[in-house]
Symmetry: C2
Subunit: 209 residues, 2 copies
């Protein structure tokens, strides 16, 4: 599991504050996740997520002390932008990024849990669909939903996907899943904390794209 | 027609040679064409075409004298890359770019020619489908074709599209179409010449994406 485990997310602190710098480092390798899906069809998704990360990083870099935690970013941007907020700045970028992260988290969790289409045990479409429905579908208008329906057929089969996650290393499927499971601990906690923050700050929007 | 006519393509010379610099200048504004379609769904297409242009520009900038014409680029890359060619370098970028240009050309020509779905005279889906079928479909596997089928519903209606092409200027529909017609003269000749060059040089590929 070279790919994912090389950038384990940091454990949460007592306060659930997330250090922006550490978060950006961990998350910067996730766009490669979409390379594991093995088709150029997913390039626009990778680009969208990369765009989110770049935007958050630019805000952080503009004043690393002021924007030390993700919480501080939301607080400060709320005061800067007034009524434009939260559909603006790093707040907007993180709003969408967290949905992509949730998609990845649910997909991996579903694989670890062994959820399978019994008729097609080597396909991951059922896992992808679950992740899409829970993380993204409600934010997509019908056209993008149709695009998703078409694009999911470009997903690799289960064994190829696990192999891609393990990168060049020869790893047994069991072992790979154990490492995914390990990875999910801090990753899920982080994603949950971000969602919690958007809820507490009343920063979540549900407009459609 | 601020948008398109501001960058009329140059007329062809007797030899059908196309100056790289002039071509890159004219073509650099075309990605905005996809903004006229008015939906973020088309962002990946714009990005793909921008990528093609950037790649050709990088080759040109590396030695503007050596790569003075598009013909020279193909000749020189053929000798540099050997059996890798033509699926490489600016040759590959221009191979795909010309298909995007052909798409635009056929779509605009079809509008100028007044081709309409009589049941939905204010939709341009019929024109978009024609352009797609003639310029791109045969290079797309079934998944990308399905994505196209979904994405076409994001196209604007005819009147909004013509308004977008005219940009901020208040222009009557007739006048706009006259200007499109004017624009198409050198544009079509240029696109034809590039296709001719790929044919003569045996540089065309028909692999699917
Ligand atoms: C030949 C014909 C071709 C036609 C071309 C059709 C192309 C179809 C369009 C594809 C859509 C690609 C996905 C991107 C969708 C994006 O539109 C949304 C919203 O994107 C957000 O929008 C904001 C403004 O509203 C800001 O700009 C955000 O940017 S900001 O940083 O500037 O603030 C930006 O991320 N992101 C999303 O929905 C997030 C997507 C995450 C995806 C997660 C995985 C899904 C996996 C699916 C596997 C099967
Ligand atoms: C939430 C779920 C979301 C799921 C996300 C799904 C996203 C779906 C994928 C969308 C595809 C976007 C269009 C891009 C397609 C591209 O794959 C192709 C080939 O692209 C070429 O590939 C080469 C290698 O083979 C080089 O990399 C070229 O790059 S190089 O410069 O490096 O050499 C590159 O242009 N270009 C194309 O097909 C060209 C497309 C031109 C389009 C013209 C207009 C069509 C208008 C349609 C209007 C309705």
């Amino acid at each position: 599991m070279a790919l994912l485990l090389d950038q384990q997310f940091a454990p949460l602190t007592d306060t659930n504050e997330i250090a922006t710098k550490t978060f950006l480092e961990s998350v910067s390798h996730l766009p490669h996740f979409f390379d594991c899906l093995g088709s150029k069809v997913f390039a626009p998704i990778k680009a969208d997520i990369n765009g989110n990360i770049t935007k958050i990083k630019a805000v952080y870099d503009s004043d690393p002390v002021k924007y030390e935690t993700l919480q501080q970013i939301l607080f400060i941007e709320k005061s800067i932008y007034g009524s434009e907020w939260p559909k603006v700045g790093a707040t907007l970028a993180l709003m969408w990024l967290k949905r992509g992260l949730r998609f990845i988290q649910i997909l991996l969790q579903s694989l670890v849990d062994g959820e399978k289409d019994e008729d097609n045990p080597n396909l991951i479409r059922i896992n992808i669909t679950k992740a899409y429905e829970q993380a993204l579908k409600r934010y997509h208008g019908w056209i993008v939903q149709k695009v998703f329906q078409a694009a999911q057929y470009a997903a690799p089969c289960r064994s190829d996907f696990l192999k891609a996650l393990s990168k060049d290393q020869e790893v047994a499927e069991e072992e790979c899943l154990t490492k995914v499971c390990q990875f999910l601990i801090n990753f899920t906690a982080t994603v949950d904390a971000i969602y919690e923050m958007y809820s507490v700050m009343n920063a979540e929007l549900d407009y459609l794209v």
